[in-house]
Symmetry: C2
Subunit: 323 residues, 2 copies
C-alpha cells in the first residue's frame, strides 16, 4: 500500500525486492483489523495474506486486480482476496476507505488449510450480495467511522462494528472455499507479476526494458505478456509506462530538475513520448503537474490535503453509514 | 463454575485441591468470550483471572463475593472482578446468563500490569452505570442470544455483540484502575478462602471441622472467621453447613442409602440437626428433596429441565434485549 504522503521511488530504491511486493500487515490481538482512510495516488503491485476491502468514498480509482482493469467510482465497494496481486491508480482526486483483515477470521467457516474466496465487486456487479451492495457499504462505513473515536473504549466500538461487517460479509456475499497451502512454502499466485512490477519500478530508466525483464526472470516475452494481462489486466508496456510516469511525478514534485531532463531520466525515448504518455496517464502535462495540478502535488500541499480529508472522509462515511 | 448437570462431590474427590478452586477458562483467539446459560444449584468457592458477568434471567441466586452475601433476583446484573473468590447458591429454580472474558480486553485502557476493577452490581445499586443498569442488561442479553445462532457466521455475530457489551461496560460502568501483579507469582487474594472451601468440601464428614481447618492451614480460628467473612460474607460455620447440605443432596440424588444414614455421613451430629440445617438451606426436608422437590433433582429430570431451559432462556433474553 502506498499512501499519498510517502513516495514510491524514494522508498523503493535499495530495498529488498521481495519485501517491497509482499506487504506484511500487523494485527494487535484485540483489534484484528487495520482500518484507515487515505487519498490514493498510486500503489506498487503487491499482495498480502490479508483480505483488503476498499470503499471508494470520493473520486475515481483504477484497480488492477485480475484480468481486466476496473474503474471504481464514489460508493463502489471491492474486496481483494488473500494473496491476490493488486495495484491502484488514483485517476481523480479520491478518498478510499481500506479495511484489512486476516484470513483466520473465517477459519471456522472455511475449515483447516482452506480459505474463503469472496466475490464482492460493485463495479462488475456480477454476484451481488444478498440484500445488495448498500448493506455492506453501510457496515464498512460504520466500521470506518470508528477510527475517529477518541474515547478510551473506541477500540472496543471498532471491534464491534468490524465483527458486524465480518458477519454481514460471511452471511451475504457469495464465496468459494479454496485450498490454502501453508504460508511458508507458497508465495502468492501473482508473486512473479509483483516482482516484475518491482523490477520495472527499479529499472524503468533502462531502454529495451521488456527484453531485460524477459532475461532477468527467465521467461519469454509472450509469457510475460500473458502473466501481466491475466493478473493485472494490462500489458507489460502499460506497466512500464505507468512506472515511468510515477517516477517522473516524484521527480517533478521533489526535484528542481528541468522537465526536459526528467523525461530522459525516466526512460522515455524522447520528449514527445514523455508528454504524450504523461498526459494520457495523468490528464495533465508534466509542467501543469509540477505547478500543483496533480492529485498528489508537492509535500506541503499533500499535508494540507490530508488534514482536510479527515473531516471530509468522516462526512462521506456518515452519509453512507446512515443511508 | 459448577453446572447443574455435573456433581460437586463426585468430581471433587481425589482431585488436586489447587486445581479445583482455580478455574482455568480457555479462549479461542477469535472468540474472546465464553457465553453460556445454565440453571445454577450451587458452586464451589473459586476464582479465575477472567471477569464473570452474571445476569439472572429467572428465580433467585445467592452470590457470595465480598463482605456480605447478596441475593440476586430476576433481571439483576453483577460483575465478578478478576481473581475475586466467589460462590453461588441457587435458592430458587433459576436461569443464569454467564459471560466470562479475559482482562486483556481492557489492557489498552488499564495500561500494563494494571487492570480495571468494575463496580457493577444492580443488587446494591451503589454505583449505577451512566444510562442505568438496563442498557448493560440489554447488551448482555443481546450477546447471550447469539449462543443460539446456527448460521456458520454465528460466531462473528457473537463477537460483534460481545464487543458492543465491552464498549458499553468501559464507557458507562464506574471502575478503578488497580495494580495487577504477574500471573505466575500471585495467587488471588481469596485463594486461601477458596482452598479452605475445598478442604471443607472434602472433609465435611469430620467432627470439629473448624479446629481441623485451623490446624491444617496454620491460622487461628479468629483469622479463619475474619477471612471467610470478608471474602464471602459468611462464617466458617455457614461454609461448613452449606458443604454438608451439598454433600447430603448429592447422596440423596445418587445413592439409595437411607436418609437416617446420610446425615451422619455428612458430618451432622444428629438427625435433628441434619433436618433443621437442610431445611434452612433448601427450604425442604431431605425426604422431599429425594422425592424430586429440589431445584436439581435426579439426573433424568435435570436433563429434561436443561432442554426446557434453552427455549425459556431464549425467550427471557429476548424480552430483556428488546426492552
Amino acid at each position: 500500500m502506498h499512501r499519498k504522503s510517502s513516495f514510491m521511488f524514494t522508498t523503493r530504491k535499495g530495498g529488498d525486492m521481495n519485501n517491497s511486493v509482499f506487504e506484511p500487515i500487523e494485527h494487535k490481538i484485540m483489534a484484528p483489523a487495520k482500518i484507515f482512510v487515505t487519498g490514493m495516488e498510486s500503489s506498487h503491485y503487491h499482495w498480502h495474506y490479508d483480505y483488503e476491502l476498499v470503499v471508494l468514498l470520493k473520486g475515481k480509482l483504477q484497480v488492477l486486480c485480475g484480468p481486466s482493469p476496473m474503474l471504481m467510482e464514489a460508493g463502489d465497494i471491492f474486496l481483494v482476496n488473500s494473496k491476490m496481486v493488486h495495484g491502484y491508480r488514483g485517476v481523480q482526486d479520491n478518498l478510499c476507505l481500506f479495511i484489512q483483515f486476516p484470513t483466520t477470521i473465517f477459519e471456522r467457516i472455511a475449515g483447516k488449510e482452506q480459505l474463503l474466496y469472496f466475490y464482492l465487486n460493485s463495479v462488475r456487479k456480477q454476484f451481488p450480495p444478498k440484500g445488495g451492495f448498500e448493506r455492506l457499504r453501510k457496515a464498512a462505513c460504520k466500521a470506518g467511522l470508528t477510527i475517529y473515536g477518541e474515547e478510551p473504549e473506541a477500540y472496543l466500538v471498532q471491534n464491534a462494528s468490524f465483527y458486524e461487517l465480518m458477519a454481514e460479509l460471511a452471511a451475504s456475499v457469495q464465496f468459494d472455499i479454496r485450498r490454502y497451502p501453508g504460508y511458508a512454502d507458497s508465495p502468492a499466485e501473482g508473486q512473479l507479476v509483483a516482482e516484475i512490477g518491482a523490477y520495472i519500478d527499479a529499472n524503468c530508466d533502462q531502454k529495451n526494458l521488456t527484453e531485460c525483464i524477459s532475461r532477468h526472470f527467465g521467461i519469454s516475452e509472450k509469457s510475460l505478456y500473458r502473466y501481466a494481462k491475466s493478473f493485472l489486466g494490462i500489458s507489460p508496456k502499460e506497466m512500464i509506462d505507468t512506472a515511468r510516469v510515477e517516477k517522473a511525478k516524484a521527480l517533478l514534485r521533489l526535484s528542481r530538475k528541468p522537465i526536459t531532463m526528467i523525461g530522459g531520466e525516466c526512460g522515455f525515448t524522447n520528449e514527445a513520448t514523455f508528454y504524450r504518455v504523461f498526459k494520457k496517464e495523468t490528464g495533465i502535462t508534466p509542467k501543469e503537474y509540477r505547478n500543483g495540478g496533480g492529485i498528489g502535488p508537492v509535500e506541503k500541499v499533500v499535508q494540507g490535503y490530508l488534514n482536510f480529508d479527515k473531516r471530509e472522509a468522516e462526512t462521506l462515511m456518515h452519509s453512507y453509514a446512515e443511508c
